[in-house]
Symmetry: C2
Subunit: 218 residues, 2 copies
DNA sequence: ACATGTGAACTGCTTCACAGCG
DNA sequence: CGCTGTGAAGCAGTTCACATGT
């Protein structure tokens, strides 16, 4: 029906769960492309992603009609579409604050850069770390973040500091004009409405497992 | 109404979102306890957790009536209750497979042990790593996991290996009788219905941010 | 005949609003 | 009077089922 090609305005609200599934589908499509599959049905994608074919079709239908009835979806075409939709066509410039274990692990993870997330800079408050380099990435004083952001643009800020410092770092990022924040600190952060945040709190995930175990008996 | 004290059987299904919020509430309650607050209202917990007071009360009401009308909840009592509900009264024995960055970071993270998650053993397939120790934790050959599990019980298995090895590790864990699996590999894993899994896929989280940025214009 | 795209039905979580009790 | 506990209403996401196009 509607075929969007570029910078996009969708009619329907996009559920968070749909965005996550689209990322999954994209992963499967990339594998299918590598193994030379020409087309794929919603049913196959559903099996791979642990969902239903109706769900796959609904997810895609938010953004347009990409399939051929009786056939399925062309793998290369759908791959391209999903990359566009997810904003993975380009490089995103990422500033990581916190040169501890998580921050460094992320900065070094090759898959991260391959997906288009380019770590431009690492920031830390510790004088021992400031001035060093990790691979080619300089570790700078966190107080320079705002002034640096005026010169080089950062799309995404990553908070990888202890819980008590998380809100301060978030405020600094907001002041620096960053509109998307990934928070790895086990703390709630508050930001203005025009800034997107996601918090990954591993403690919470483990406590959910603990809950499940404690109630297995049911 | 219903006041459960111990190994528990709830009447209502517990939404995943509720479990996550209970973990959050518990965190706030621990802070409130430290600062000597005697009682807390659903409204205060809601503000701290970024939700509504009705949501807080509904979350708690699944498990019983812990509050006093006109007053709120007694902080120490509710703290205890939530720990019970989440299964945090005891130590959980954790086996981590994959002595790479994520596996090691988790094994060394002090907050993890403080919450009752005790890393009993690290496993890896690489001969270079097997036989070494991290702090007091031995790194063992992954092929020993099943036989080790027969001797020392593991409650939770953590998958911290590359995507291609994730399903093999999951199968090994299932064979070893592990009923709860935390998966950090960017891969879907399939397990029997009596095994609980949670997947933390950071790539997906970043792609969700990418999606949000690409559609900020709206 | 086959697989998509989608309105309609359904399910389940959240919000509302108020009765009930301290 | 204040704040909890909870049915009832509202809403969002999922599933159903089928008309539609190839």
């Amino acid at each position: 029906m509607k075929n969007f090609t570029s910078p996009i305005s969708y009619l329907k609200r996009v559920p968070d769960s749909t965005v996550r599934r689209l990322s999954l589908y994209l992963g499967f499509l990339e594998e299918l492309e590598d193994s030379g599959e020409a087309t794929v049905s919603s049913d196959v994608l559903a099996r791979l992603g642990g969902t239903t074919s109706a769900q796959v079709r609904k997810d895609l239908s938010i953004f347009g009609s990409f399939g051929k009835r009786g056939l399925g979806y062309f793998v290369p075409e759908l791959t391209t579409r999903l990359r566009e939709i997810l904003g993975l066509g380009r490089d995103w410039h990422v500033a990581i604050v916190g040169a501890g274990k998580i921050g460094l692990a992320l900065a070094q993870y090759p898959g991260f850069r391959e997906k288009g997330f380019h770590v431009s800079a690492l920031y830390d408050a510790s004088p021992a770390k400031v001035g060093t380099r990790l691979d080619s990435i300089p570790v700078r004083d966190v107080h320079r973040l705002a002034s640096d952001a005026a010169k080089e643009h950062f799309d995404i800020g990553v908070i990888a500091v202890p819980a008590d410092d998380a809100q301060f770092v978030a405020d600094t990022m907001v002041a620096a004009g960053i509109k998307a924040i990934m928070n790895f600190a086990p703390a709630q952060i508050t930001v203005p409405a025009d800034v997107v945040t996601r918090t990954v709190n591993m403690g919470l995930e483990f406590e959910a497992l603990s809950f499940a175990l404690a109630n297995l008996s049911k």
